[in-house]
């Protein structure tokens, strides 16, 4: 794969510089979105050969990146001064997964307004279908030079609303909208 041009700083996402699924206004929208499949990489696992807890969020970050690209937020969009920033994340770790095992991600839009996106990631074992982990996030559209929340451009809002409408009939995930507390039984 060709190495994408870097601006001097750090992280490269798996999808950076690669082809990604373009938005097609006429195509039906998956409910939930299925934008990322991969296998558990050697650099994600701990001494036991299981995915480290901190790496689940990195994989959800890759899933967010696939979603961003799907709605039109890529390097060019960010270079023009806007991006989606994460303001909250809530993770549930349900089952371990070992190096080399296949995983697939889904992404469900729970809610959105003109500047915010509330989404839900689920990570499944690619062969058994077992739910491994979930990640609920609130993202806000930011003008990066001013460092403040601003409304999304209209085409972006329309895409987000189209996905939200396609996901309206999905059940609310059991893990969504919950605080952390000791009163609940251990999972």
């Amino acid at each position: 794969m060709e190495t994408p041009k870097r601006s001097g700083h750090g992280l490269k996402t798996p999808l950076e510089g690669s082809g990604h699924r373009p938005w097609d206004a006429d195509a039906p929208i998956q409910a939930p979105l299925c934008l990322l499949k991969t296998t558990v990489a050697p650099q994600w696992v701990d001494y036991n050969g299981h995915m480290s807890e901190s790496c689940y969020l990195l994989v959800f970050g890759d899933n967010s990146d696939a979603f961003f690209r799907f709605i039109g937020i890529d390097e060019d969009y960010r270079a023009a001064g806007h991006s989606l920033y994460t303001v909250q994340t809530h993770l549930h770790n349900l089952h371990e997964v070992a190096q080399g095992e296949p995983i697939r991600l889904t992404l469900q839009l729970l809610d959105a307004d003109e500047k915010r996106v509330h989404l839900f990631h689920a990570m499944f074992h690619g062969a058994t279908g077992e739910l491994l982990a979930t990640g609920e996030q609130m993202l806000v559209h930011v003008d990066m030079s001013e460092g403040r929340a601003v409304v999304m451009p209209l085409d972006l809002q329309q895409r987000v609303q189209a996905i939200l409408a396609a996901h309206a009939a999905l059940p609310k995930p059991a893990q969504a909208g919950q605080p952390i507390g000791l009163r609940r039984k251990p999972g």
Binding site: S7, H9, G10, L11, S52, E53, S54, L57, L58, F60, G61, E75, R78, Y85, T86, V87, Q88, T89, H90, L91, H92, N93, E96, D111, A112, D113, R116, H118, E136, Q137, M138, M144, G147, A176, G177, Q178, P179, I180, G181, L182, P186, G187
Partner: protein, 161 residues
Amino acid sequence: MSDAAGSLLATWSGTVLPQWVDYNGHLNDGYYMVVFSDATNAVMALIGLDAAGRTATGHTIFTLESHINYLQEVKQGAAIEVRTQILGSDAKRLQIYQTMVLAGTDTLLAANEQMLLNVDMSGPRAAPFAPTVMARVQLLTVAHRNLPRPKYAGRTIALPG
């Protein structure tokens, strides 16, 4: 590391590494969890579940849930610290709250709440803390019992209104 009554635990300090930052030179949202997980490892050591303790007891800690509030951008090279408060515990669970601050200040960068579960690795299955571990868990829980409830604990995620 302090476990004096009422004081927060100093569980991590370091600088934001180049491999943790995004194209803007800011700590990527996924890597806050790397720092907070390291701080959790320090909590494990404090309750007797470092590598030697894990071998001796056959137990380890799983993070069941983790909630992050991202409050400020954090630049590459910034010196940061994590301070940990024990919110509660029972026979097999420990609830913690951690703040990421600029080193030597109270400037809050991010807040993290975690529910930890003691696990018998032979299962693996949830199991009560080993007695020596339980004693330390209770000591810390009591020491922090009268600390104020942190602002970003118990949060849920929802659009306003």
